[in-house]
């Protein structure tokens, strides 16, 4: 190789180094590498993700419950004459009754999401307690470590 290096060679080498670095960093993020090389950070991330998801799903259920209450109170007050919708408003006895049913349907799904998120968090904790590591050659049959 001629010295000094041509500009193209330098750029080429830098590109290859950057590519190699990207590949290496990506490799460290895979469960295969992370669960073996940095298990603490790996499980911290897994549990943290589970905790945040569980909190989010609980909040999504709560906002639907609060909406249900708000709609019911509005319907009561519409019937008793305390609440008077503006002319042309979408709010009516029919639309409020429909809103209660709609909210019920959405809430059924939100309740499921809460259960699923709790299971996900529990699973992350269980895997950590069992000292689980990602299998390097195919998955274990159950897909989970057993304590």
């Amino acid at each position: 190789m001629k010295w000094p290096l041509s500009r193209e060679t330098v750029v080429r080498v830098l590109l290859i180094v950057a590519l190699g670095g990207t590949l290496y960093k990506g490799f460290l993020k895979t469960p295969e590498a992370a669960s073996h090389l940095t298990p603490k950070a790996f499980f911290d991330g897994l549990v943290n993700d589970g905790e945040n998801t569980a909190i989010m799903k609980e909040r999504h259920r709560d906002v639907l419950e609060a909406t249900d209450k708000a709609v019911r109170v509005r319907l009561d007050e519409l019937r008793s004459g305390v609440y008077k919708p503006a002319p042309g408003s979408l709010v009516s006895e029919a639309s409020l009754t429909r809103a209660i049913r709609k909210d019920e349907a959405t809430r059924a799904r939100a309740e499921d999401d809460v259960l699923r998120a709790d299971e996900k968090l529990e699973r992350a904790r269980r895997l950590e307690a069992a000292g689980w590591r990602m299998g390097l050659f195919g998955c274990t049959p159950a897909g989970e470590g057993r304590p």
Binding site: E51, R59, T67, R74, V82, L90
Partner: protein, 179 residues
Amino acid sequence: MSRGRCSLGKWLGLGLLAVVLGGVGGLVWFGAWYYPALGLAGIPKSGYRQALDTAARGMTASDGLVFEDFDFSKFREVARGGEAYAWGAARCKAADGSTTFYWVYLEWSKKRGQWLRNYSLELAAPDDEIYFTRLVPGQLGRAGMAAGKLLGQLGSRLREAAAGRPAGQDRQGLQSPGL
């Protein structure tokens, strides 16, 4: 002559671009940085009740509602990672005497070390999607209501920011009891 016109047009274009960019930047700054933190600086993570109270009073007052109390409020934090969340439904009275519930949601910002306002709004408001059917309102009506809701929220936040400064200082330590 023609060169002069051309450069005038260029300057006008640049000026217009600057105004548009400044407007967008201002909106982003207000909505993502300034408003969420308004009046909540200095409240520790454990002071979520005070943060919820301050936020709820400010938000509801700028919508012309009288804050009564929280119907419920919650605080959740993760054991690992440092994220924390607080949310609740504030019970308010509207001007016509009807009851209105307002959803208040705060997130703890690790970066800024303080509580920040997040997705918060009046529940079951007259322009809520929950009253929509498949055909009513139509596409244009929906777009209009969505735009109206966004602009209404922006207006309400700007009013809160304008009113919040002095009022927020008076309210220090004036928490509603029974939270």
